[in-house]
Structures are given as C-alpha cells and as structure tokens.
C-alpha cells in the first residue's frame, strides 16, 4: 500500500477537501487575514503615527487575538466536521479500517485545512507588511504562526474528544465546546488572578505557575510571547513561571511539554472514546 492510498491519508484528504469547501474555513481565512492586516495598520494609531507595523510588533499585538480566535474556530469547525450525520458516520465506520485510523486521519485533514487557512490569512497580511515595512522581525511572525498551529492542534483534539462519542448530538457538543473555550481563554485567567490576589506571595506564585502550565491557551500564549519577545512582554503569571524555572530555557521546555501534553492527551482520549462508542 502506497503512502497516498493508506487509510489515514485517504481520510485526511477527504476531510481536507470538505474543509476547503466549507464556508466556515473560507470565512476563517478571510477574517484571520483581515484582522492581521487591521492590527498591523492600526499599531501606530494610539501613538499618533501612521503606517504599517513591522512583523515583530504585529506578531506581539496579534498573539492575544490568535489565542482568542484560533481555539474557538478549531473547536467549532472540528465539531461541525467530526460529528457528521449519523448515516454518514455509520457508513464510514463500517469500513474495514480501525476507528482510530479514521478519526486521526480526519483530524489530520482538518488540521491541514485550518493551518492552510491561517497561512493564507497571515500570509496575505504578511505580504502587505513586507511591502510596507520590510522583513524586520519576520521570525517573530513565524513564531506567531507556530503558536497558532499549536493552538489549532490542541483545540482540534478537544473537538475530537467532544465529538467522538457515538450518541453525542452536534448541538450539545458545540455548547460544551463553547463553554470549554470560554473557560480556557477568558474565565480561567480572571479566576486565577482573582485567587492569586487573595494569597500570599509564595502560594500565589505557585498558583500562577500551575495556571500557565495546566491551561493550554495560557501555555501557548506564554510560549508564543517568550519566542517573540523573550521575557519583556510577560505578565504576572509568565514572570512567576520564569522565576520558577530559573530562566527562559526551563520555561520553554515546560511550556513545550505542556503544549505537547495538551495536543496528545485529548486525542488519545478521543481515540479511546470512539473505539468504545456505539455508532
């Protein structure tokens, strides 16, 4: 069996084709590009200036937006794709292919589709930035893209986990996904910072460090900012992590491990869930 005809590649290719034809993916690429361009163009407005920011400043400004937008997009597009109509699911999973192969192939296809959408969006804006502001800080823009890919992989895995129970209704999975997104991206930070203000310095630091590592959105955001700007753009939680790891190398390793864990753990659970599901 050649690589191109292996079941995982066939499932990935099929999902990629579907995602490429989906309005959601197309809108995502357009919105992503428009936001990147808007951020690059509005960077100097507050300081009374004008023009397009360079890659590094745009990447820093975009990091929080990416962490807000990419998870919800990956969750919604992932669940819409992976919780297909019952008849379609039954036909697909009655084929002589292991369930895990089908699921992982589909997730891979979705990941490639969303990565391509981000590449188109960020790439389009990147071309304008290059044209108007030159190539300064290009690596920071690349790190932002890597952060977006990591967030995509993590939240697609979570989408797969939510959608892979056989009897899960799409609307229910979507509702849970939005709760997960709101909790991870917005509520978690607010709750942790509120709790930290009630603690003394030591326990507060430990809480903040734990918070950065256990929340995938925070781990990706912190790792992206660390990659773009070193430690200069860090907030309270990230600085606590830096103190805990005694330097950026340790912090990068811990953040990398956390990100890898959050990519693999939901996928492993999703595989376990689909293999046990009644379809």
């Amino acid at each position: 069996m050649s690589f191109g005809s292996s079941p995982v590649v066939l499932c990935a290719r099929q999902e990629l084709l579907l995602a490429a034809r989906s309005r959601w993916t197309q809108i995502f690429a357009a919105v992503f590009g428009a936001l990147a361009l808007a951020v690059a163009a509005s960077g100097y407005v507050l300081s009374g200036g004008g023009g397009i920011e360079d890659y590094a400043r745009t990447a820093t400004s975009l990091a929080s937006l990416v962490i807000l937008l990419v998870p919800v997009t990956a969750l919604v597009i992932g669940i819409l794709a992976l919780s297909s109509d019952r008849g379609a699911t039954e036909i697909l999973y009655s084929q002589p292919v292991a369930r895990r192969t089908i699921l992982l192939g589909r997730v891979l296809g979705l990941f490639v589709a969303l990565a391509a959408a981000q590449a188109i969006g960020l790439g389009g804006a990147g071309l304008v930035i290059f044209w108007r502001a030159g190539s300064s800080g290009l690596s920071a823009y690349g790190i932002l893209f890597a952060g977006a890919l990591a967030a995509t992989a993590i939240f697609l895995g979570i989408a797969a986990l939510l959608a892979s129970g056989g009897s899960v209704r799409r609307s229910r999975a979507l509702a849970i996904a939005l709760i997960v997104w709101f909790g991870a991206v917005i509520l978690f930070d607010v709750a942790v910072l509120a709790a930290a203000t009630l603690l003394t310095s030591g326990p507060a630091s430990r809480l903040l460090v734990t918070a950065v590592l256990v929340n995938p959105a925070d781990a990706v955001r912190t790792a992206t900012l660390l990659g773009i700007h070193g430690t200069t753009a860090f907030g309270a939680a990230s600085l606590a992590l830096l103190r805990f790891t005694r330097g950026p190398v340790g912090a990068a390793l811990l953040l990398g491990a956390s990100t890898l864990f959050w990519i693999l753990a939901p996928l492993a659970l999703a595989v376990r869930r689909i293999e046990r599901a009644d379809l």
């Binding site: 099929q14 002589p96 292991a98």
Partner: protein, 300 residues
C-alpha cells in the same frame, strides 16, 4: 457466515435486543422483520461492528471473527437506514473515496454508477440529490467492494420502481454468486421476493424463524377457495368436511379455507356430488396477515 451468539444490546435501561442466537449461512438471503423498535437495526449494527454487544457476541465470515474487528468488516458491506453523505461532495467523489478505502478496482465506480442510474448526476453535489438518489448512492457505495456479506437496513425505503427493480436484480445476482444478504424491511414484497428465510423480532426477542418453504406452507394454510355451484347436493358440506373441516356456506358460495394441496380432493368431491362448478376463486394467504398474527401472538 454471520453468527449471533446470545447477542444482547441495551441502551441504558432499555433492552433493544435480548439474547439473540441465530446464524445466517453463506449464500442465504435472510430478512429481519418486526415492528418499529423491535431491534432489527440494532441487530444489523451488531453484525456491522458498529455497536458493542452488552451480552454475547457477533461473529462474521470464515473463519469467524468478532464483528468489531476491521478484518471482519472486510467481508461486509453495510447500508444504514438513514443514508447520508457530506453534501459538499459529488456522488463520484464519494464513490472514489470509498473505492480507495476498500481497495476496489477503479473500474468499479462506473459499474456501480450505472447500476444506481446516477451517471448523469455523478458530478453534481450531493446537496442537489433527492432522497431516492442519496439512497441509490448509498447502495452504490455498499456494492463497490465485492464483499461476501451485504447488510442492508431498509434498502428499498426510498427507491422508485426502477430503482427497486435494479435492486432486486442485483440482490438476486449476488445471492446466486453465493453472497450472503441480511436485510431489514417493512416492505413485505421485499421479503417474498428476496428472502430464503425470515427472522421475526418482537421487542428485541427472536420469535420466529421461517424458511421460504415454511412460509409458503403457513401462507397456504391461510388461503382457500370460493366456489359458486350449479345444483349443489344437500350432503355436499358433510362430504367435504373430512378433507376441509372449516368449509362452510356463505350465501350461495361454498367457502373452503385450507392449504392448496387439499383443493384438488375437494374439487373431486364436489364433482362426485353431481354439482357443477360455475365459478371458482382461489386465494392465497397474505404475508401481512401472517405477520400481524405472528407479532400479536408474541407481544406480552
């Protein structure tokens, strides 16, 4: 070929199928019948490896393998009750995908498109298909591989008469080639036309298993004839009752319920009595009536 061994499936507190033990042999076409909610679809899904049995197991193929293993699914093609495909794809793209997944030859796609009469629509998006076209596409997908076992859940539900004819022809061909067909249907015509045997499920339990011969016998018992006679003899009824005990007069007609094998003897007795037959109408038992009788017998 398909073996249900104490197969049971519960969804929460509700038992969909209880302790089903039966088998479908190679080359057999077996119909699963039963009212809505009797466990037909659950049984078929068990054979397709789509559900985990709560009790017992389902084994497929030769040598028998657990239906949930991919190797076992290599021997089956499954058509679900509600066929659906991603609407953004064309019919041909769907077929090409499943052809590649099953490792079937590229030439199979035009073949099944022809069977499904979808040639003219194969490059159109599925979003533009009617319900019947989606059903035919589902059948085409099920026929792509030359799988020795076909599992079909209400395959004729949305087919037009042309589609129905093509489907009957195809199943008969597959059966003649030694393939096994297990299907559910509410169309009793499908059962009479296609099935070598029927299995009747009521509330998750197997309550009857009848071969085509046994079915014909049961139906014949429910048939009869109505005779209009010229100059009937007064003792005619008494003369024929030893052969047809339920014979009776209904107005001017002699009604003789009973199997077809007894009818020649009754006609001989009528002629021997000196009566001449003016009109004769023979009726066969109806499958729907038999079905209702069997179902109501076994409902608690």
């Amino acid at each position: 070929m398909i073996r249900f061994e104490e197969f049971g499936k519960s969804f929460g507190p509700r038992a969909a199928v209880t302790s089903l033990t039966c088998s479908v042999e190679a080359g057999e076409a077996v119909a699963l019948l039963g009212p809505n909610g009797s466990g037909k679809t659950t049984t078929l899904k068990g054979a397709a490896g789509l559900i985990r049995p709560t009790t017992g197991r389902v084994r497929i193929g030769a040598p028998p393998r657990d239906a949930r293993l991919p190797e076992a699914r290599r021997t089956i093609s499954y058509l679900p009750q509600k066929v659906a495909f991603p609407e953004a794809l064309t019919g041909r793209e769907v077929l090409e995908f499943y052809r590649a997944l099953r490792g079937a030859a590229p030439g199979r796609v035009p073949d099944v498109l022809k069977f499904a009469s979808l040639n003219g629509a194969s490059n159109r998006g599925i979003a533009s298909y009617s319900g019947g076209m989606v059903q035919r596409l589902g059948l085409a997908v099920a026929l792509l591989p030359d799988a020795p076992i076909l599992l079909l859940d209400e395959p004729t539900a949305a087919l037009d008469p042309d589609g129905l004819c093509a489907f009957y022809g195809l199943v008969e061909k597959r059966r003649s080639e030694g393939h096994t067909v297990l299907f559910t249907s509410h169309q009793l015509g499908d059962v009479e036309r296609l099935a070598d045997r029927l299995l009747l499920l009521v509330e998750g339990r197997l309550v009857a298993s009848l071969t085509q011969g046994e079915l014909a016998e049961r139906l014949a018992e429910r048939g009869g004839m109505r005779l209009r006679l010229d100059r009937p003899a007064p003792g005619l009824l008494a003369a024929i009752r030893p052969v047809a005990p339920r014979a009776t007069w209904a107005g001017e007609e002699l009604v003789v319920p009973g199997p077809a094998k007894d009818r020649p003897r009754v006609l001989d007795l009528v002629r021997e009595s000196g009566a001449s037959i003016v009109n004769l109408v023979a009726t066969e038992g109806r499958l729907d009536v038999l079905y209702r009788e069997l179902v109501s017998e076994d409902r608690p």
